[in-house]
Subunit: 205 residues, 2 copies
């Protein structure tokens, strides 16, 4: 992945973060021990503390460094589509594909909320919003087919839609309900996001 030569210290640090993110997403934060992280990264417990001051510091580093938006944003900007409908549909599929392949990050966000009450969320938003909001601002300006013209509302509802798909998917996936779901559930989700559950148009937003 990394093309530049990394100093050994940096390599170990990355190995620790990689080990941690995998364990966190499997077990949550408090159920994951520093010893497990050390083992998985291939060093002794004490060695961790050359790179991180505490367990909490590992979690913070992971939340920032592993955020998938850096990977996703360029993909969205490459998304094609004649109409806005095609574009939005493709963009959503790209995001959800990327997030399911690195499913860990959605899990991390849920751990953040469940175990930390969202305390690191503010720092994360401070990095995310300045980079992502402009994309939605440009969208609102150039696309007349949008009913929703507030970029913040559009951003929140888009992220919310993706989240809601992924979370319900986790809960449903190993239950009897999964058999009742249509195979094109993702398409139906995107369709509802774009056109709503009701027939006919509305007036104001």
């Amino acid at each position: 992945m990394q093309k530049e030569k990394l100093k050994k210290g940096e390599v170990t640090r990355q190995a620790l973060e990689d080990a941690a993110v995998e364990l966190f997403m499997e077990q949550g934060y408090h159920a994951t021990s520093m010893r497990q992280i050390a083992d998985k990264a291939g060093l002794a417990l004490g060695g961790i503390y050359n790179h991180f001051k505490s367990k909490d510091e590992i979690f913070e580093a992971v939340i920032v460094d592993k955020h998938p938006y850096k990977k996703i944003l360029p993909l969205i900007q490459e998304a094609e589509g004649e109409t806005l409908e095609e574009f939005l549909g493709n963009a959503t599929r790209i995001v959800i594909n990327e997030l399911t392949s690195q499913q860990y990050y959605v899990k991390l966000m849920l751990i953040e909320i469940a175990e930390f009450d969202g305390v690191h969320g503010s720092a994360m938003l401070k990095e995310l919003v300045p980079n992502v909001l402009p994309v939605f601002e440009r969208l609102v300006k150039t696309r007349k087919e949008l009913r929703v013209v507030n970029p913040v509302v559009l951003l929140r509802s888009f992220i919310g839609m993706v989240l809601s798909y992924m979370i319900t998917d986790i809960v449903i996936s190993d239950s009897f309900l999964s058999k009742l779901m249509p195979s094109n559930m993702l398409d139906a989700y995107v369709d509802i996001y774009m056109h709503g559950v009701l027939k006919g148009d509305s007036l104001n937003v």
Copy 2:
């Protein structure tokens, strides 16, 4: 709340569940100790094990007993509205109001996913779906204004919409973004759910 006389054993059990749900939602599951639960419920550590075999059993009991759908379902059925638009709007506001007042349950669901990987979710759905799905089936049958005619899709998207509002609200609430949100965000959310982000109608679902 309870009108019938409860045996003392049952009273203690409820006190334990009440203490547990509060601690779980504040700290998560693994960060909450049996001693904390005992203290909050007003008995000694050992006393817990007269009512629950393990910590996990407390969590399971809480997930089932504290599920808010029993409280919410009757409220929805009382929801008024001439048009389907009014009805859906009112229903959504009722659900979200109820969930924010007992915010704990959304937190419990996130703990479930974050710390247990959703293992108790299947049992929860087995109780929820048979009671809630019929409501959506009836809705699809009687209301011609719906574009989405698959009750399962409608149910999932409705729950997903509520979840996405509540989760983004938690993350945003104590960050700079909350100032950028419009005051009628909830209305905008419901509006998007009903009519989508795009102008104009679509064809198929």
